[in-house]
C-alpha cells in the first residue's frame, strides 16, 4: 500500500509496527491462515467462556448445593474447556506446546507459581490442573464475559490485598491447589521480570508445597502491549516446565514479613535465571 513511500504523510508509518520484530523475517507456517484462525479462536474462546459462565455454571449451581462440590464441578468444567481449547488449537496447528512434569501439579495444599509471558498461560495450567483455584485479576469479576465463570468457580480476586491474602490462605489450608502468577500481570518482553511479594507471603502462610512452573513461548506472541493480530512469523510453541518443589521449612523460622522477603528474593532469582536460559 505504502510501499517505498517516504513522503511526510507516512514518515511515521513505523509507529504502527512494533520495532521488536524485524520486518525481514519471512512469514511461514501458513501465516494468513494462522492470522484468521487466531481471530476466530479468540471469538470462540470469548463465546465459550460466556456460555459456560452464564449457562453451564448456573445450572451446576442449581443442582449442587454444597459449596466445595459446586466449585469443584465448576472448575472441572472450565478446566476441561481450557484443556480442549489448547488441544484443539494445537490440532489445528495454530500453536504447539510441550508440558514437562504436569503430573506434579494438583496436589492438596500446593501453591503453583508461574511466570506469565502470554495471554493463554492460564489455559495450560488450569487445563491440566483443573481442580485448582486461581488468583485472578479483579477486573475479571466485573467483565461481563468472564464474570460468571470466575465467580462460579470460586476463584479469588487479586484485590484488595488483605482479602486476597486471607482467601488464598483459607483455600490452601482447606487442601485446595492454588495457582498464582506472582508478577500480577503479563511480563513485558525484554523487560526484567518484576514479581509481587504476595505469592511468597501466601506460600509461607499456608502452602504445604510450593511448585514453580517456568513458561516460555517461542517466538513470542500474545504478550503484554501486543494486540492479538500481531501473530509471530512462524507457529509459536509454548514450553511449560514444572520445577522442583521449593522447601518452605527453610524459611519458616523467621517472622513472616522477613521470611516472605527472603523467599520472594529467591523466587525472583529462580525465575530470572530460568528465563535467561533457553532450553
Amino acid at each position: 500500500m505504502m510501499r517505498g513511500r517516504t513522503d511526510r504523510l507516512h514518515a511515521h508509518a513505523s509507529d504502527y509496527f512494533a520495532s521488536d520484530e524485524p520486518p525481514a523475517v519471512k512469514r511461514t507456517d501458513y501465516y494468513w491462515l494462522r492470522l484468521v484462525g487466531t481471530g476466530l479462536w479468540f471469538l470462540v474462546f470469548g463465546l465459550v467462556t460466556f456460555v459456560l459462565g452464564f449457562v453451564v455454571l448456573p445450572v451446576i449451581r442449581l443442582v449442587t448445593w454444597d459449596r466445595a462440590r459446586r466449585e469443584h464441578r465448576s472448575r472441572a468444567v472450565l478446566g476441561g474447556g481450557m484443556r480442549s481449547f489448547v488441544h484443539s488449537v494445537r490440532a489445528l496447528r495454530f500453536i504447539d506446546f510441550e508440558f514437562i512434569g504436569r503430573e506434579k501439579l494438583g496436589r492438596p495444599g500446593q501453591l503453583i507459581v508461574a511466570n506469565h509471558p502470554t495471554l493463554i498461560d492460564v489455559c495450560f495450567l488450569l487445563g491440566f490442573a483443573p481442580t485448582a483455584s486461581c488468583i485472578v485479576k479483579a477486573s475479571h469479576f466485573r467483565n461481563p464475559i468472564t464474570r460468571g465463570a470466575v465467580i462460579g468457580a470460586g476463584y479469588i480476586p487479586n484485590a484488595p490485598t488483605e482479602d486476597m491474602i486471607h482467601a488464598a490462605e483459607a483455600a490452601l489450608q482447606g487442601g485446595e491447589t492454588l495457582l498464582m502468577f506472582p508478577e500480577g500481570t503479563r511480563t513485558v518482553p525484554g523487560k526484567p521480570l518484576t514479581m509481587q511479594r504476595g505469592a511468597a507471603n501466601v506460600a509461607l502462610r499456608a502452602a504445604r508445597v510450593l511448585t514453580p512452573v517456568f513458561i516460555s513461548c517461542e517466538p513470542s506472541t500474545l504478550s503484554k502491549n501486543l494486540p492479538w493480530y500481531r501473530i509471530p512469523p512462524s507457529r509459536p510453541k509454548w514450553t511449560l516446565r514444572v520445577g522442583d518443589d521449593i522447601d518452605l521449612g527453610a524459611y519458616r523460622d523467621a517472622p513472616l514479613p522477613i521470611a516472605s522477603r527472603r523467599l520472594h528474593a529467591d523466587l525472583a532469582g529462580l525465575f530470572a535465571g530460568a528465563n535467561t536460559v533457553r532450553d
Binding site: R197, N201, L256, P257, I258
Partner: protein, 82 residues
C-alpha cells in the same frame, strides 16, 4: 484495657520483631510507608499479628486511615473500648 503507653510498647515490640526495625526508629510520629517502609502486604501481617496479641478479630479495613504509629495506637485504643 491497656493504656496508650502499653499499646505503644506492644506495637513497637511487634514492629521490631516482625520487620527487624531498630527500636529508636519506631516513634509515634513515624509514618508506615515512608519512614518504616511497610507496604500493604506487611500491613496485613502486622494486623494479623496484633489481632492475635489483643485477641480481637479486626479487619484491616479498620486500619485504612492509619498512616503513622500514632494513628495505629488511636485505632487499637478505640477498638478495645468497643
Amino acid at each position: 484495657m491497656k493504656s496508650r503507653q502499653e499499646i505503644f510498647d506492644i506495637v513497637r515490640r511487634s514492629l521490631v520483631e516482625l520487620f527487624e526495625l531498630d527500636e529508636p526508629v519506631v516513634v509515634p510520629e513515624a509514618r508506615f510507608d515512608d519512614d518504616l517502609e511497610i507496604d500493604s502486604i506487611d500491613a496485613v501481617d502486622l494486623v494479623d499479628h496484633l489481632s492475635r496479641i489483643f485477641e480481637r478479630r479486626v479487619s484491616p479495613r479498620d486500619f485504612r486511615s492509619v498512616r503513622t504509629v500514632n494513628d495505629l495506637i488511636d485505632c487499637i485504643d478505640r477498638l478495645q473500648t468497643q
